[in-house]
Assembly symmetry: C2
Homo-oligomer: 597 residues x 2
């Protein structure tokens, strides 16, 4: 059986039974939509993912882009994939009709795009980057830039990139050194070197638009002197496109995402690279940060999709691979499928808990993004934004970190075959590793969460989270899931008390010392919440006669309850241990000196 | 600075200060040795590892063996490496002088060989397999087989393999189907298919000897009907070597260990493959099991070495890569080396705790192996064997599982560069993944530990472990490490109570349900013991004036104390949570059915 990428039943469960996406149509922004149009988009993406993207995944992994005469040559199948992704309107699915978009809720797009990512992460990468870059122009660019550059990007004719990172600066954007010198025509001459620019060159479209961070001559040092520029590979001159002095300095040999080139890019080697200021001078970083939630949710979705497709592969393998006998069989009889071994089921159930919990998480946070942008009630809008902001580091890092563990389990379930490149799990394991690194490492997410997010609006975001989880706890008690509710309630109490303690610490070093542990703790709580939420819906559905044990739905809902039990009983208690470390300020790595290591 | 592979100071600390290897020379078996001869061997291996093996590592990873006209062609540098490894006597370093060995303690060989493995796992793989195969002949083979086959293997002229796994059986050796039919000359005609045979073909030596499991016609089904055969690629006929009807059916494209081919091997396609029975008929599995401890310790050492070398690489990178500023600097001043960031130090200290704790573990268990074989006192001999047997699944699986996490952290410390194949950490991450799969998966180690080992000799092994840990606890209290001792004592108490409870369960399914969790718990305790042991030695040394804060030794011992604190405070408490799961028999993956997943 071909890998389904995601479980369709899980997608409809989350979208309609848990998130009740149809209710979003009550908002004016989504008034033209209906459950039918949502389903239509999800199904179209699913079909493309299964029929075109996934079959190209392994060939693209095997033959990554190469440099030829200073230009990047991509896989021959990529051009057609990009055309079909553009036709489907993936690049601007959530954007307003005015800019050519379909104005779909992010909640819906999350599921549709998760299929695409599960099918072929690299192919979708070109589109995701283009979407993010065009979005920056849409939000902060002049009418001219929108017309000249954003429009062909949203039309799928050109692609876009994010050109932030520099070799000497890495994650430290304060140290960006690319220079922008005002030119006579109102543009700027840009000069500098960027690195790790995904999609930074390709042979698929006529143009590539690099959204570039640089310093205008005389700008203040540090993050306060960074401006955002639009730097096209080909700039417009009247009706013509002329080369804009950007050059590929090298292709990085990535270990995953091998369909999407990552390059070192030189700007202005000949002093002829023009950049167009986007928005106000020195506001570049604040613009980037406004897009950051979106980019980080996308990484979270990448992580979920990559772990999810590997789980599907491992599950099918475990159901069909006969090997050994169960512990109680005393070696008698035919070999059984390995899914019959308790330890294999443990590995599968853990994967299920991570990938389905992760998908619920990213989709739930996407729903806050929809409400933060489109809710009518100003209070709901504000609250949704706070929750979006609070939960973004979790939605970014949980799929990356736990997804990697889940991907490793998919390899392990395959045994010796999992260690060979004739089987796919090893490729997804490689793909996954990037997600803990790009768009802010896990370490940075931890500092963002504990250093900024939990104090947002004097801690209002945390109070909102308490309220949201409280509602699910009450619901669980009504659904006779009291024991699971007790587990989550205890974890919530521990987290709130710890947060209060840490926020009260004056010394930022002391507060942030265990930010990685705090992020793991907080993420575990949030995903526990996602599981109790799903268990409530499943439990209610099982109470209805339609979902009896003999139906497919009966099995599905029971699986949800088992995974919820697993997560809340097995993963959640770790919170107590992590909280003790954070609270007591265990100081081994504060004390250790470099020469002691 | 070139990667040192292992930390020399750590090696001498463990070998002479912790394990007091020189005391082994009091045993008659090692009477010819001294600290000087030990050090000579370690240094010779270290030199070869640094000067020859490590420089060939990346080239061999990049150009794995390929199939050409039905034969495997290995990397051109491998022939010279094999010659130099043989010259050093690596293949029979621990074997008696009578068979050409150096009769070194396994304790000493562990450190020497860890350098080799850290330098180039694949290259050492040929030798390790040859050693294991020759050892089987030495222990169970006839004089003829020893003379005809073992001798050239120990001399480094031929290599050997373990031919256990078959495509339809995998880990389930009960289902081995290769047949052996008695022939007129006392040999057997062997027919069957083997898979994942490491070093199963190569172009380096004139012959390869496959130690093969097969069933003699009419043998009972299951594990009781398996015999061990010596199946050479070229068999002796008088003074000549003639082809023995073994054929390469394919090369598996492994994701790591890419210098060592793993092949599918067909035996007897033309009915002309001769196998020579080793030992008694139907005793094959018991012979293999007698060698299993050795093979599993070797895998453990592979895992330690692979994580250790990556830690060294990450440490050097972190000390030299400037990026960002500390949390307390408010963005002012020059960029600092990333080792200054608390979260990077956390990742490094965790790696240190895993790799140095893992090396101590494997070396300690090797010492039990030495005493089990060579102690004069029969009581000590017996006790050492019980401890060796009990701890082998831990020494095999801890480095594989936690080593993989450590290797992933080494990638993470390198940021975006870690994700590229221009840097080495990703290659070690790939190498490491095999260690949780081969020589018995982690799942199998868990069942071995909880299903067999903890009940050994009516639980005598566990009581011995309690005694050993108890001695270290007393020592720690005398060294003013009372707080760390309390932590370990609590973990020990929890483990002992849990073990008693689980062993008392009648239903094997219930007893083994959480065997993976139990293995993790037990391993965490054992490595905690290794850390308290090291802390005791470090604390005492710091008490002496020679190791003041300003000396290199002062820094080294303080690092040991910090890592011990980290491990005991941060990793050990997880035991309580795991114990609760095992004790309460959390049943989600017992209950979940395949169609619920």
């Amino acid at each position: 059986m071909a890998n389904p990428l995601l479980n369709d039943r899980d997608v409809s469960f989350l979208l309609y039974e848990v998130l009740r996406a149809d209710e979003l149509c009550a908002l004016p922004a989504f008034a033209e939509h209906s459950r039918e149009t949502f389903t239509l988009y999800v199904e179209a993406c699913r079909k493309l993912a299964r029929e075109a993207l996934f079959p190209a995944y392994r060939p693209m992994d095997e033959a990554p882009p190469r440099l030829e005469d200073g230009r990047v040559i991509t896989h021959p199948r990529m051009r057609e994939l990009l055309r079909r992704l553009s036709e489907l309107g993936v690049v601007n699915a959530t954007r307003p009709v005015e800019v050519g978009g379909q104005q779909l809720p992010s909640t819906v797009a999350a599921f549709a795009h998760a299929y695409l990512m599960a099918g072929n992460l690299s192919a979708v990468g070109y589109v995701g980057l283009t979407s993010g870059a065009a979005r920056l122009i849409e939000s902060f660019g002049s009418d001219d830039l929108r017309r000249d550059y954003m429009t062909p990007m949203y039309a799928g004719e050109w692609t876009g990139t994010m050109a932030l990172t520099e070799p000497q600066a890495g994650s430290s954007l304060a140290d960006v050194a690319t220079r922008a010198t005002p030119a006579e025509d109102g543009s700027y001459r840009v000069r500098g070197s960027k690195i790790f620019i995904s999609g930074g060159d390709q042979d698929l479209t006529d143009n590539i638009v690099h959204m570039t961070l640089a310093r205008i001559d005389g700008a203040p040092p540090g993050v306060k002197g960074i401006s955002l520029f639009l730097v096209p590979a080909q700039r417009r001159q009247g009706d013509a496109l002329i080369p804009n002095d950007t050059a590929v300095a090298g292709v990085i040999h990535k270990i995953g995402w091998r369909g999407l080139p990552s390059i070192a890019l030189n700007l202005g080697e000949n002093g002829e690279c023009r950049g167009y200021l986007v928005g106000e001078p020195n506001q570049g970083l604040s613009y980037m940060f406004q897009m950051m939630n979106e980019a980080r949710l996308m990484v979270g979705l990448n992580g979920v999709a990559t772990a999810y497709v590997a789980y599907q592969e491992a599950l099918e393998y475990a159901k069909t691979r006969p090997q050994g006998r169960t512990a109680t069989s005393k070696g008698v009889g035919a070999q059984v499928p390995i899914v019959e071994h308790a330890d294999v089921r443990r590995m599968l159930l853990r994967q299920k808990a991570i990938v389905e919990g992760g998908l619920a998480l990213v989709a739930y946070v996407s729903r806050y993004a929809d409400l933060a942008e489109h809710a009518q009630d100003p209070e709901q809008k504000k609250e949704s934004f706070l929750l979006l902001d609070l939960l973004t580091p979790v939605a970014k890092s949980f799929p990356a970190e736990k997804g990697f563990e889940s991907n490793a389990l998919a390899v392990q379930v395959h045994g010796g075959y999992g260690y060979s490149s004739e089987y796919l799990p090893e490729a997804w394991l490689r793909d996954q590793k990037l997600n803990s690194i790009h768009e802010g490492t896990t370490g940075i997410q931890g500092m963002d969460l504990l250093g900024r997010k939990v104090s947002l609006a004097h801690g209002a975001a945390i109070l909102l989270l308490e309220r949201e989880i409280g509602a699910v706890l009450r619901d669980a008690r009504e659904s006779e899931l009291g024991r699971l509710a007790d587990l989550l309630e205890r974890a919530l109490g521990t987290t709130l008390a710890l947060t209060k303690h840490l926020v009260g610490l004056r010394d930022p070093g002391a507060r942030l010392l265990h930010s990685a542990d705090y992020l793991e703790l907080f993420s575990t709580l949030v995903v526990g919440w996602m599981w109790l939420l799903q268990a409530n819906v499943a439990q209610r559905a099982l109470g209805k006669s339609l979902a009896s044990e003999t139906t497919l739905d009966g099995a599905f809902y029971r699986g949800k309850l088992c995974a919820a039990q697993y997560y809340l009983e097995t993963e959640l208690p770790r919170i107590e241990q992590l909280a003790a470390l954070c609270r007591e300020g265990e100081d081994s790595y504060a004390r250790v000196r470099p020469d002691w290591l």
